[in-house]
Each structure stands twice: as structure tokens, then as C-alpha cells.
């Protein structure tokens, strides 16, 4: 019993950490493109990427199944090519958390990048710096606050992800049951004492994370 709780705790941290790494990488690049470039359909791309924040997570999960299931748009060719299915694995939990938490990263980073003083950017260009150098040495450092906030929010959202994860990764005890899913599962089947222990542990862990990220964030900024 203790073992299964520890497993869920570790899995939640693992899923949240891995998805946050990808969210930060993809989020910063997407936010940069959305903030600095102009192209047709830009706001449509932004809308599509933000949609998972507004949709009920089970709906997002349903779309993910249609996309990544073995009969799905991407899932079928992937399965035929590799013989592996994405659903019911911990990667599926990472994908679900990624999709649901990504908008938080993009929104906060884009806003931060757009509010960087244009004069600094123009100065960098007139002094002969390339776009990449300007991005890395001027825009990113100046929008650090927003980026860190976005990463913290995304991690927190990924930790608590439930609906989409339940759909895509399932509730496989010892395989894909993250803390939120294990709590749902034990509470619904009447194992209240175990559910209570998990709720308290998870609340303390989440509280600790938010406290530490606030402190760390202040030091970095």
C-alpha cells in the first residue's frame, strides 16, 4: 500500500518534470515566433494552442485519443511503423500534461516578450547582432520573469493534470496512476483512509513546490 503511494508520487513528479522540460523548449520558441513574427493565420495558431486551457480536460483527452490512439490520425501510422501504441503508457501522461499545460507557458512568455522595449532590440540589430544573438542575449533575459512564471505555472498544472491523462494514459495501477488518478480511483472505490493519506501528501508536496518556486523565482529575478 505504501509502495503504491510512493509510486504514484514519483510518477507524478516524473511526468510533470519531463513535460515541463518540453513545455519550456517548445513554449519559448512558439512564444518568440508569436511575439516577433507576423504571418497569416498567426492568431489562429495561438487560438488552437490555447484551446486546451479552455476545453474541459476530458474533451482534450478525447481529441488526443482520436489523434494518438492506435486507430488515430497519427497513432495508426506510428503503430504500423513501430508496433508500439502510445495509449496506456507514462509517455501518454507526459503528452496529456504537455498539451494541457503548454498554453500557460506560451501566454505568459509571449506577453513578457512583447513588452520588451523595442529600442533595445533595434539597438542590438544596428550594432550588427544577428537575430539569434538578439533573441538569446536581449529578448530572453529581458523576459525572464514571464518565462520563469510560465514554467512554474506549467509544472503546477502538469502535476495536477487529471482529465486528459485519465483518457489517454488510463488508470493502470503501478503503470500510469499519477497522484490525481490514484486519489480518484481509491476514493471512488471506497478506500477512504488510503485516499486521505494521498490527499494530504499531495497537498503538502504541491504547497512546498509553490513556496520553493516563489523563493527561487525571487532570487533569480
Amino acid at each position: 500500500m505504501e509502495n503504491s503511494i510512493l509510486f504514484s508520487l514519483r510518477l507524478s513528479l516524473q511526468v510533470a518534470a519531463v513535460s515541463t522540460v518540453f513545455i519550456v523548449l517548445v513554449g519559448i520558441i512558439t512564444a518568440y515566433v508569436l511575439a516577433r513574427k507576423d504571418f497569416r493565420g498567426k492568431e489562429v495558431v495561438d487560438m488552437l494552442l490555447t484551446l486546451p486551457m479552455v476545453l474541459p480536460p476530458t474533451v482534450t483527452g478525447f481529441y488526443l485519443i482520436m489523434l494518438l490512439g492506435r486507430n488515430g490520425l497519427l497513432g495508426r501510422p506510428f503503430y504500423e511503423l513501430t508496433g508500439l501504441s502510445i495509449m496506456f503508457t507514462w509517455y501518454a501522461a507526459v503528452i496529456a500534461s504537455f498539451v494541457v499545460a503548454l498554453p500557460l507557458m506560451i501566454k505568459t512568455s509571449r506577453a513578457a516578450m512583447e513588452s520588451v522595449d523595442k529600442n533595445f532590440i533595434n539597438a542590438s540589430y544596428t550594432l550588427g547582432r544577428s537575430e539569434l544573438e538578439t533573441a538569446l542575449k536581449v529578448i530572453l533575459p529581458l523576459s525572464k520573469k514571464g518565462i520563469i512564471a510560465g514554467a512554474v505555472l506549467s509544472f503546477a498544472r502538469a502535476m495536477g493534470e487529471f482529465g486528459a491523462t485519465l483518457m489517454l494514459a488510463g488508470n493502470l495501477p503501478g503503470k500510469t496512476d499519477t497522484m490525481p488518478i490514484a486519489i480518484y480511483s481509491t476514493a471512488s472505490s471506497g478506500e477512504w483512509s488510503k485516499a486521505n493519506v494521498m490527499v494530504i501528501l499531495f497537498t503538502m508536496l504541491s504547497g512546498l513546490f509553490l513556496y520553493l518556486s516563489n523563493k527561487l523565482g525571487k532570487r533569480l529575478i
Binding site: L166, P173, S189
Partner: protein, 264 residues
């Protein structure tokens, strides 16, 4: 003569044992998607399977969600649903093997109160008495247990009289919470849910089977299973004496016409 008979049956028993040991049986791993209410008995059945050399990985959830996962191509070998609707829809789409489909258990609707409550209720018509101010049931539109509860209340002709007392919950867990916290005087849910928390609630009345549509649980192997032998073995175990004993222990009803070879 009697001595001879016991001897003979002993020999038979040994023979059976020897055969079952010699028969290696299926091995490997299967994934079973099952309704959340089956978690207790199925985990016990999974342990028996483990002893037979098959590792069972469970995926517990609401039957409708499990159905959607299977339609999307989830790698599942066996599906056990809390109603026939999901099973029939999958059958229509050719996603389950018809020959492996069985109705394996039933459930009843019960009226419960908190264990601490001194409420005396002998029949469903007693629900009209003034002492009872609120009754929690699942929302009949979305919660299966709620739909059956409505049927029971209508059967006993009290639905209209107590309509104002009803509190609709969005799932069975919420009905349970209201009852345990004594936010309501009584609640209606499945017998198995009530038995799972017998330290907190007591069963006042069990609704007769003819007062609502039968609650039937069905099981089947998925068409795309990679380990058909093990999937079938799991289903036979659920249908066996041992499996039925486990289900009964958790408060499930056994179906009268239930027989393993019914559709063969």
C-alpha cells in the same frame, strides 16, 4: 461401499490436480479495462491469475470512458462494463469477440443512512415521513445508479411525493459523502458501494429486483487482443465458482441464467 466411493473421488481429485499441473496454461500479460465498481473483486481475481502465470494490468474507469478508449485503439485485451449499453455498441462496431461476451454479475439498489443515524425506515413509502428532509440520489440523467433509483421510487409510487426532498449528486461518491456527513437523512446507491463502506453507512432496505431494470455487468475479449488465450482464461476465471465467490463477497448478485457455455 461408502469407503470405496470416497476412495474413488479421492483418486479423481488427484487426477484432476495432476492434469491441471501438467497443463501449462496461458502465460504473459493482459490489460483489462473494467468499470471502477469492479475494482475490489477484480484485483482479487487478478491475484489468482498472477498465480497461474498471467500478469493482469488493470485500467479502471467509467464504462463510457473505457468504451471510448477502446474505440480509439487502446491496447486492451478484456473489457468489463457496468451495463450492457457500452458492450452492445462495441459489438456493433466489431470491436469485441461476440463468442467471449457474457453477462457475469448483477447489483441491487439499496437505501442507506449514516451508521450514526437512528432513522427507522421499513419501506420506500416511509420516505414520505416528515423526519426525512433530504434524500440523495445520483442525477438520473447522468448517473446509472440514479436512473435505477428513480425507477425504484416510481415503482413504489413515491417519486412525486418526495421530489422536493431529492438532492441530485453527480456521482455515487457524492451520494455517499452526503450520507456519511449527514447532510441528508438517506441516500440511494448500489449495494456494492454501500458494502464497501459498511463502517460508515447502514443499509436500511434493499430494493426488490423487479422494482427497477436489471443491473447487469458484462465482460468480453477485445477483437484486437494479442493474447487471446490469456484473455479467455481471465473471462473463464471470472465466470468460475472461484470468481463468482469473490464477486459475491463484494456484494455483487449472481445472475440466475449465468452459465459459462451459454453462447457456445
Amino acid at each position: 461401499m461408502r469407503w470405496f466411493k470416497t476412495r474413488l473421488s479421492l483418486v479423481f481429485l488427484w487426477l484432476l490436480l495432476a492434469v491441471s499441473v501438467a497443463y501449462a496454461g496461458p502465460t504473459g500479460e493482459i490489460t483489462v479495462s473494467a468499470a471502477l465498481s469492479l475494482k475490489g473483486p477484480f484485483e482479487d481475481i487478478g491475484k489468482v491469475m498472477e498465480k497461474r502465470g498471467v500478469r493482469v494490468i488493470f485500467n479502471f474507469g467509467a464504462s463510457g470512458m473505457l468504451q471510448k478508449q477502446i474505440e480509439g485503439g487502446a491496447p486492451v485485451d478484456v473489457f468489463a462494463a457496468a451495463s450492457l449499453k457500452e458492450m452492445d455498441e462495441l459489438l456493433k462496431k466489431g470491436l469485441i469477440k461476440e463468442k467471449t461476451k457474457f453477462n457475469f454479475a448483477g447489483n441491487s439498489i439499496v437505501l442507506v443512512s449514516s451508521l450514526k443515524s437512528g432513522l427507522r425506515v421499513k419501506s420506500f413509502s416511509d420516505l414520505t415521513m416528515g423526519e426525512i428532509k433530504r434524500i440523495a440520489i445520483g442525477n438520473p440523467a447522468t448517473v446509472p445508479a440514479g436512473k435505477y433509483s428513480e425507477e425504484v421510487l416510481r415503482h413504489f409510487g413515491v417519486w412525486d411525493a418526495i421530489k422536493n426532498k431529492l438532492v441530485f449528486a453527480e456521482n455515487v461518491k457524492q451520494v455517499m459523502d452526503y450520507v456519511v456527513r449527514e447532510e441528508v437523512e438517506a441516500g440511494m446507491l448500489f449495494q456494492t458501494d454501500a458494502l464497501a463502506r459498511k463502517d460508515d453507512v447502514k443499509i436500511l432496505i434493499e430494493a426488490p429486483q423487479d422494482s427497477h431494470k436489471p443491473v447487469v455487468y458484462a465482460i468480453a475479449a477485445i477483437s484486437g487482443t494479442k493474447n487471446e488465450q490469456a484473455a479467455k482464461e481471465f473471462i473463464s476465471l471470472v465466470m468460475s465458482e472461484e470468481g463468482r465467490g469473490i464477486l459475491q463477497r463484494y456484494g455483487f448478485r449472481l445472475l440466475k441464467e449465468m452459465k459459462h457455455d451459454r453462447q457456445r
